[in-house]
Amino acid sequence: MKARTGYSTSLKQEFLKKWIKGIRIYSNFKKDMNILERKKAIKLSADLAIASTRNASTRWSRTLTANISKNETNKIFVEQIFSDSEVIKKEAPSRLMARSNRIASKKIWRRSHITQIKARKMGPYAVKARSIAKKLVKNRTKVLKSLVPGGENMDGISLIKETLDYIVSLRVQVDVMRRLASAAENSTRSL
């Protein structure tokens, strides 16, 4: 996974193009949408567009696309969008589960022994403080996993890497959407 730290104009342009293409396709599907359907068209197209800028190279983007395609009504729409570009890869059920169970059991063994050794060195108070800190990190990691698409099956390092990429992509998405909204608002005002 190539790391992106900032975001370039070309990325924003790619997102904008794909987003608008998606809205157009959706509108051809459903003429005469009410405001809720219109919102769905806009949001769905935006999510598919930002995911597709990663070309299936990140877990979050593959999961996001797969989740959207799971819905029967969306599937046809998604297929139309991707018809001339990349294939929708079916996100394989994670083989990491078995591996992470093995890692988890190893960690449990190590943890139970390390606390005993540390208690001798650090004293019981410090050990307790550290275990509270660890619990905090664990709980917050759980929340993060629920926020990043596909996060549930990721281990620590992958989770942080995916989060980095996901945040950069979300910022691009918000930035472009915000600009379009202001531009549209300004244009309707100026008459």
């Binding site: 730290t5 809205i23 806009i42 890692i103 945040i167 915000r178």
Partner: protein, 92 residues
């Protein structure tokens, strides 16, 4: 002893260094406006995680709000105006 080591080899665990983790966490910190300017040794891992989660939630909410705004804009555009034609040709 040896069973644990072969377990590690089976799982394909690469040695993840402390430095790698610190590096990634500091990169994450750089992205979050709330904690970007604090010294990395003064921000705890749990704080970085907490602010990251809040940031992502805010971004999700913004996407949702902007989708609302845009859908309303398209509804309220007077169908005869020149602006409507421009926006329509762009989006529809």
């Amino acid at each position: 002893m040896s069973s644990r080591r072969s377990q590690m080899r089976q799982a394909g665990v690469s040695r993840i260094t402390e430095d790698q983790i610190v590096d990634l966490v500091s990169k994450l910190q750089q992205l979050i406006p709330e904690i970007r300017n604090r010294r990395s040794d003064k921000v705890s891992a749990s704080k970085v995680l907490q602010e990251t989660c809040n940031y992502i939630k805010n971004l999700h909410r913004e996407v949702d709000d902007l989708s609302d705004r845009l859908s309303q804009l398209l509804e309220s555009i007077d169908s005869d105006s020149a602006q409507a034609a421009i926006v329509r040709s762009l989006l529809m």
